[in-house]
């Protein structure tokens, strides 16, 4: 006997579908259209791919694109590696590890702008406590945020400090899901501590790694608030990323250009994250 499919269950999808369409799909498609125009609140003029041409002609915009990739990759790599090492440390039965886990997570709860302002003060070339402390032991501290070759990496450092707590918590949950029997079996087989880490922990904690890498990469590619609070993209354009460039173009009234920047950011995230997710999913282990 054949059964006809009832449309009844689909009604339950409708509210979410409407919200998704209105708040995500329509603006995304609209931004594709507006990126091909020169527009303001009262007029729209179709100019084809001129905004994109201009975007890739401007050296500072291209630098912003490169900086975005550098920022996302370095913050993500640091959070992944350090997060895993800290999680291993904080699950090793260390004295006071419950307290240390709280301390580790605390920066995640603090406002990004607040962190940015605080570190701007701490990293001041002459009055900042970091350089004052370095001077006390005879080291001439660099201009953390004023040196164009260093500014982006100083923000990376602060981003890692602020975000590592979340990566650590995800890794702690991942480590907790690994059966101790895997380690015991490896110990009987004669595994050293290093081998236990690389041959057991790293492969088996992969689901957590996928989450940390994906979240931190997307976060890094979209990063704006910390950079804006600490350097505003400067000195010059040395620490500009796509999001800050888009913001600056928007402030300057180049709405079409900034919309094109948004589309480029969208495409960049999709081009990096989609294949990565597919690759991770294919390699994922079932514990």
């Amino acid at each position: 006997m054949s059964r006809t499919k009832s449309p009844y269950p689909y009604w339950f999808i409708l509210p979410a579908a409407v919200i998704f369409t209105v708040l995500f799909l329509v603006p995304t498609l609209a931004s594709f259209w507006f990126s091909l125009t020169r527009w303001d609140l009262f007029s729209v003029e179709f100019i084809g791919i001129e905004n994109y041409r201009q975007f890739f002609r401007e050296p500072f915009l291209i630098q912003g694109l490169f900086n975005t990739v550098i920022y996302a990759v370095t913050t993500s790599a640091a959070k992944t590696v350090l997060g895993l090492l800290l999680a291993v440390l904080l699950t090793s039965g260390l004295w006071g590890q419950g307290f240390l886990r709280t301390v580790m997570f605390f920066p995640v709860l603090v406002s990004t702008i607040g962190v940015g302002i605080t570190f701007t003060v701490l990293m001041h070339p002459t009055r900042g406590i970091i350089n004052v402390a370095l001077a006390a032991i005879g080291i001439h501290g660099p201009g953390w945020l004023t040196d164009p070759t260093l500014a982006l990496y100083s923000v990376v450092l602060v981003d890692v400090w602020k975000g590592i707590g979340l990566a650590t918590v995800i890794y702690i949950a991942g480590l907790a899901s690994i059966s101790p029997e895997y380690y015991e079996a490896a110990r009987i087989d004669g595994a050293t501590r290093t081998q236990l880490f690389f041959r057991v922990t790293v492969p088996l904690v992969k689901p957590a790694t996928v989450t940390v890498v994906t979240l931190s990469l997307i976060g890094g590619l979209r990063s704006f608030d910390l950079i804006w609070a600490m350097t505003r993209g400067g000195p010059g354009f040395s620490s500009d990323v796509l999001a800050s460039v888009i913001y600056k173009q928007y402030q300057a009234g180049f709405y079409g250009l900034s919309t094109a920047g948004n589309v480029i950011l969208f495409a960049l995230i999709a081009v990096i994250i989609l294949p990565l997710t597919l690759w991770f999913n294919r390699k994922e282990v079932e514990l």
Partner: protein
């Protein structure tokens, strides 16, 4: 292969004593089964032999060498875990060869030894599969393969069949017994299932509350249990045990009679009872009776014995098969 000697092994967690002076010898090539109820310490004892758990006091000797404080990998043991502990990201080939690859042995040697073991365990066609693509029995065999490849002096098994269904468990019991016969290795096997213990062991160690209740061959434990606990634990269905007035009438502290050592009659017998429940197992029939002055009594009869619930029957113990204990309590 090797002899395992435990000398006065004690284990405490804080002020709680888990193992209380265990002394035992497992002979070279023997299949020794630790059996007992949950929490009796059998797995802890096995883990102390493996080195995964520390010993509070006492000595462990394997092949004459004191390994009490030796690293697990230095004891010449291999262990098969309850969950098999197969690495999900590795293939069967890589799982079996894991120990050798940790020791950085040449690839050709690993390949050759994995191939031989896979052939012995009928895993050759599965070598490139991941554990999730294997059945429970196949995973079990991979775990055994990983143990064999280390060429250990002693094999340790921690309830390895408990995750399998009844049919597969029965098949694996036979396979493990065959493997023991083939390898002639010393094997120590932990289970809470007395059927596994009875069918596989050369020697059974019954543990209770961190102490050894009795050590002996399966039929010795069955025929001559040293305590009511062993009497109740070994045998299925379990022995009928009585204390108080019922035991006093028989002249002992605890009186026991196995279900298969009771004869039932419709006309006369030692005890008069009413059939309360009947379990028909095909070849056998298990009758649950309520007996005057005794309480519940379980009897095993041939499967074709005519019987109905509510019927009055007379039960008598088979001469010479009664067990009278002067000490101990019903567990």
């Amino acid at each position: 292969m090797a002899r395992v000697v435990l000398e006065n092994i004690c284990k405490s967690f804080g002020s709680v004593d888990i193992m209380k002076g265990i002394s035992l010898t497992v002979e070279d090539g023997e299949f020794c089964v630790f059996v007992g109820p949950s929490g009796c310490g059998k797995s802890t004892l096995l883990r102390m032999i493996s080195g995964l758990e520390t010993v509070s006091s006492g000595r462990i000797l394997i092949d004459g060498e004191d390994v009490t404080y030796a690293e697990p990998s230095r004891r010449g043991i291999a262990m098969v875990f309850q969950s098999y502990a197969l690495y999900p990201h590795l293939t069967v080939r890589e799982n079996i060869g894991f120990g050798l690859s940790l020791a950085r042995r040449p690839k050709a040697e690993i390949e050759e030894r994995v191939g031989k073991i896979a052939e012995t365990l009928q895993l050759s066609h599965l070598l490139d599969r991941k554990p999730k693509a294997l059945s429970g029995g196949q995973r079990q065999r991979v775990a055994i393969g990983r143990a064999i490849i280390r060429d250990p002096k002693v094999f340790l098994f921690d309830e390895p069949l408990s995750n399998l269904d009844a049919a597969l468990r029965s098949q694996m019991r036979v396979e493990l017994t065959d493997l023991h016969a083939k390898l002639k290795a010393t094997m120590i096997y932990v289970t809470h299932d007395q059927v596994e213990a009875m069918t596989m062991a050369d020697k059974i160690v019954v543990l209770n509350g961190g102490r050894i209740e009795q050590v002996g061959a399966p039929m010795t434990l069955y025929n001559e249990p040293a305590s009511p606990f062993v009497a109740g634990f070994i045998g299925s269905p379990k022995m009928n045990l009585y204390d108080g007035d019922a035991a006093a009438r028989e002249g002992c502290m605890v009186y026991g009679i196995r279900p298969e050592h009771i004869s039932l009659s419709a006309t006369d017998g030692k005890w008069r009872g009413t059939v309360r429940h009947i379990e028909r197992l095909g070849a056998d029939l298990i009758a649950h009776l309520t007996v005057d002055g005794l309480g519940d009594l379980v009897a095993r009869c041939p499967g074709d014995t005519p019987m109905v619930i509510g019927e009055t029957l007379f039960a008598s113990p088979v001469a010479g098969k009664e067990h009278k204990f002067e000490r101990g309590a019903i567990g």
